[in-house]
Symmetry: C2
Subunit: 608 residues, 2 copies
């Protein structure tokens, strides 16, 4: 070893001990004839003191930032202690040192507040990884992984590796494919998830499976998507939905405890998908704060339900009259917003990303009066009644959006989150879990006038609705009335876990009967031949004693980023790709050799 | 949950308890009016007893092999206990049962000695995985993984994920490549190992890294090779070879302890590559037994060294006189081999796989006499002297091979292993570790008259030989005398761990200086431009304070198979591929859609 101790290890108790450290030069400070060096490694920073006697050697081989240094000497208790670092009580009085490697001046500073831009830091990722901020993220990631493995091990789960070179069965997202040299003209695909394999493992009786595993999706990358990402992938036999919910809220609570020191003792809230959509406008609500949506046109679905609301807004205001949906949100403590502020909010909802035509507000003044942008259409009593219906208190500001159903709901959800952000209600150190349940099994695809699986084709309908599915044809005779088709009402035995407004995991109880699985494939437009080609192995497996089973997969990158209080998953991946799917450090992807094309028996067919 | 207990859990202490089990029907046995069913799950087998009252229901829905069954009833202590299984003291007297799923008759029996052939079992891998023999292998694999993670965690290693979509830099083995849709004409490669990434993590100061990670090599598959395989991949900072050897023999000993219950307290033997080649004829000797090679032409290298041997064989026997190499092995206790047996051995060495012209033997009879196939060339005294030189005892059989150096050495190694196998010396339950050290850094490539890296281009020469490497040109002026080139004698700071004659791990201390790395690349025939294109990021990283570092990678599949006492890694992989790289269960690889070709902007270019 080049060292006897790490740079985070020495304390007063080591006083007078002869030790050797090795690490990176963080700073060099010269005071008259003596030199202080902060030496850094993964474990910490230790101050080195070079006395005058070493000056000749220091002059001959001067130290610079990020040099790799080995130093031997005696541990000395400092008179001038630094309480901010664990090694702050001591320093090393160097008797000998050796430069193990030099360093050019880094293109950016290796500090929490670095001066490096995003592109530069990605190109020199190996330097960016030295920064404490990034290191802390990867340490957290490791801790989350370890906590996960321990919990699952204690609960009898087995880590079983599934293959990476599989078969392309594009359903939804695109597969990455891999040409096979040994089977010319044929391709492997990289797995979008180990879904079918984990189900086969259940058929094989492995009872409880898990894997922390890379998955691949060739999607157009939005901000914060990666073509390769990591899942905590789990599956259990002989379980019902309730068993899965209990097991995996246990997992997340354990991670909170192990990684963040948080005792999450509260019951994890549960909400149906319908409730989430009506009350929060989206299927992964952030429930760290209230500000639920009050639907003024469909009062039966609002919370608390106010049957009389819709009559309240009925009046002369054409915008509300004509709108498919009118949604109000009571924003606490904002009644004194200035004209400038409400104008700015109006502009905010009119941005193309939000796409509303305008914003109506009611100020619930502290003195009990009400003031609104639609004063001329509604009396103060009516304004008061509307405001009260939304649950607003004196001092609150009621914001109202009106328009087409889906857009208005989405905009309301965005507005709610934006206001919470502005009001400091989205605290990264507060964690609130939620199960969203009872998703629709199918979504309607207008273009093809057909059903698509909302979760995936292996998700079971609610047990009570299996008959409905088996006994009805999936064909949609009348596109305009697709909502009346029996399939439109079928709910899935599926569940998402939501943390602070982010879906961190999702899963379902699976279909385990061949007949039902075939019906599902048929409902999605797959004929027998296609079913056999793509999923013959799974249908076959279901013939040989498939047990009831279900599972869940957590987005590991996302889970880590939320626990780390960050918006970006990239900060929690050692070597991430940029939004064009490129690794700018490696400069990949790249061209390949003619010999490789030749061996693979493929060639380029570039559009231009 | 469909069950209150597992099928491996119930004991006498559960007597009279009402329980529900779920699992697979292993056997159904009818005795008069009662029926016994063995119900199986991952955890064990429990006997179910169906009394006469259930006969009507059993007749209406008869049970078959591999049916999925849920049964509720009372635990009963058996009068007729089965001591062979942990649940053998009890049975479940069934009061209610439900068939959760039926099963077709499996294409082979789900038993340790199955009647299924290899192809059938691979096609129905999900059924093969139900067999206890296969399950035990995957459980062992999981235990090895868990033991590894625990040991490395306790030693401050961090699991850090490295990317799968990287850049193709073919060196040695072929890369699998992945066309990038978002970057048309460009390809990712799947990693052959995370080598450069783990080195970058050391440059980044992560100090101790590990990963249990899939790697990919597009090689022509020999028996028991897989295109995707798993490595335990490790790297450490500020270490010398000795530190790595200590740390990782510690890992393997820990695995022995955790997984096999074996206290491997012996010192792990060490041997140089030269010693291995001279004394065992190969670089991964099985040292569970002796029978070292005695080189009769280069006695200085034999063990024990017998300076006078070469004069012993000098004589009238032209075969020995003309041979480049003559190697003898003393086979214990085989002096009474019949003519038939020695003839058969002669045929064995003449097989094309071995390729020798013949076999000479000396029988060291129990009565002290010597009898040989070359009696007419050597006196009994000479035979005795030769036999003694090989270390043979009375009762042993000395086998002698002669021929060209490399072939004879290889054949001797094969013969040694074959004789050990025949004599039962290769016991799967005996484990013997060995470090092989001091490999040559370079191998000579005759075709290109150039050097290739024996390990990989990142391996450091011995510290004392760095100067030799830096100060000499790699150019080989005189191909015939390449052995005289200074590079031929450079040894690598590399090490292999050998277990029972299998290389289970290998690694090296790495180059960490840009100048030396460039010299290495140049020695392998890479010009500056190619170096920059392929490894510019690594050369760049070495400019910013790269620390001394080194590491190792273990072949996880192989390690598991040896610990499991098997020759085949396939038995330890949940979903392996066959020798043509095919997954016969999935029927992958397979053709892809025209749309996929179109999006990827590639097309086939089949040779015929």
């Amino acid at each position: 070893m080049y060292r006897t101790h790490t740079c985070g290890e020495l304390r007063s108790a080591h006083q007078n001990k002869q030790v050797t450290l090795a690490g990176w030069v963080q700073t060099v400070r010269k005071f008259g004839s003596i030199t202080f060096v902060d030496l850094r490694d993964r474990y910490g920073i230790t101050q080195l003191l070079f006395e005058e006697s070493l000056n000749a050697q220091l002059d001959a081989s001067p130290l610079g930032r990020e040099f790799v240094l080995q130093a031997t000497g005696k541990v000395n208790e400092r008179t001038n202690k630094n309480p901010n670092i664990p090694t702050g009580d001591i320093e090393l009085i160097v008797s000998e040192f050796r430069i193990l490697n030099k360093s050019a001046v880094p293109p950016f500073t290796i500090q929490d507040d670095t001066d490096g831009g995003d592109d530069l830091r990605m190109k020199y990722r190996y330097l960016d990884l030295r920064r404490n901020a990034v290191k802390k993220n990867l340490e957290l990631r490791y801790a989350v992984g370890r906590s996960t493995r321990n919990y699952l091990h204690e609960n009898n789960f087995m880590d079983i590796e599934t293959p990476f070179l599989i078969k392309s069965t594009p359903e939804g997202a695109r597969d990455f494919v891999v040409p096979s040299r040994m089977n010319p003209g044929q391709f492997y695909a990289l797995p979008q998830s180990p879904q079918t394999f984990k189900q086969l493992l259940m058929v094989s009786g492995y009872d409880r499976y898990y894997q922390i595993v890379k998955c691949f999706r060739d999607e157009d990358l939005r901000a914060d998507r990666q073509p390769e990402f990591t899942q905590i992938d789990c599956e259990m036999c002989f379980v019902e939905q309730e068993d899965i919910l209990n097991m995996f809220e246990g997992l997340v609570k354990r991670i909170f405890k192990d990684v963040k020191g948080i005792d999450y003792t509260e019951t994890v809230e549960r909400m149906t998908w319908e409730e989430a959509m009506w009350q929060y406008g989206n299927d992964k609500p952030d429930i760290r704060f209230g500000m639920k949506l009050c639907n003024l046109k469909f009062p039966a679905h609002t919370f608390p339900s106010k049957e009389n609301i819709s009559s309240l807004i009925a009046g002369e205001f054409a915008v509300f009259n004509d709108a498919e949906t009118v949604i109000a949100i009571a924003i606490p403590g904002c009644s004194e917003y200035s004209r400038k502020q409400t104008d700015e909010l109006t502009e905010w909802v009119k941005r193309p990303q939000i796409g509303m035509k305008g914003l109506v507000f009611i100020k619930c003044n502290a003195d009990g009066t009400f003031k609104s942008s639609v004063d001329k259409f509604y009396s103060e009593e009516k304004l008061k009644a509307i405001a009260e219906a939304t649950g607003a208190q004196a001092g609150d500001l009621v914001l109202i959006l009106a328009g087409a159903e889906e857009r208005t709901r989405k905009a309301s959800s965005e507005l709610r989150l934006e206001m919470a952000q502005r009001l400091g209600m989205r605290r990264p150190d507060e964690f609130k879990l939620l199960w969203v349940l009872d998703f629709p099994l199918f979504e309607y695809d207008e273009e093809g006038n057909r059903w698509v699986a909302r979760h995936h084709p292996f998700t079971s309908p609610k047990p009570s609705q299996i008959e409905t599915m088996i006994n009805n044809s999936p064909v949609i005779e009348n596109a305009a009335e697709y909502l009346k088709h029996p399939y439109a009402g079928i709910k899935a035995n599926a569940y998402d876990m939501v943390l602070n407004g982010n879906e961190i995991g999702g899963g379902s109880i699976r279909i385990f009967q061949r007949e039902l699985q075939e019906k599902m494939f048929a409902a999605l437009g797959m004929d027998k031949e296609e079913q056999q080609h793509k999923f013959g192995f799974l249908l076959g497996a279901f013939e040989y004693g498939a047990p009831p089973h279900g599972g869940i997969a957590f987005g590991f990158d996302r889970l880590c980023s939320i626990l780390g209080g960050s918006e970006s998953i990239r900060d929690f991946i050692a070597f991430p790709k940029n939004n064009a799917g490129r690794d700018v450090m490696l400069d990949a992807p790249a061209s390949i050799d003619a010999k490789q094309f030749d061996e693979l028996q493929i060639r380029l067919d570039l559009k231009n």
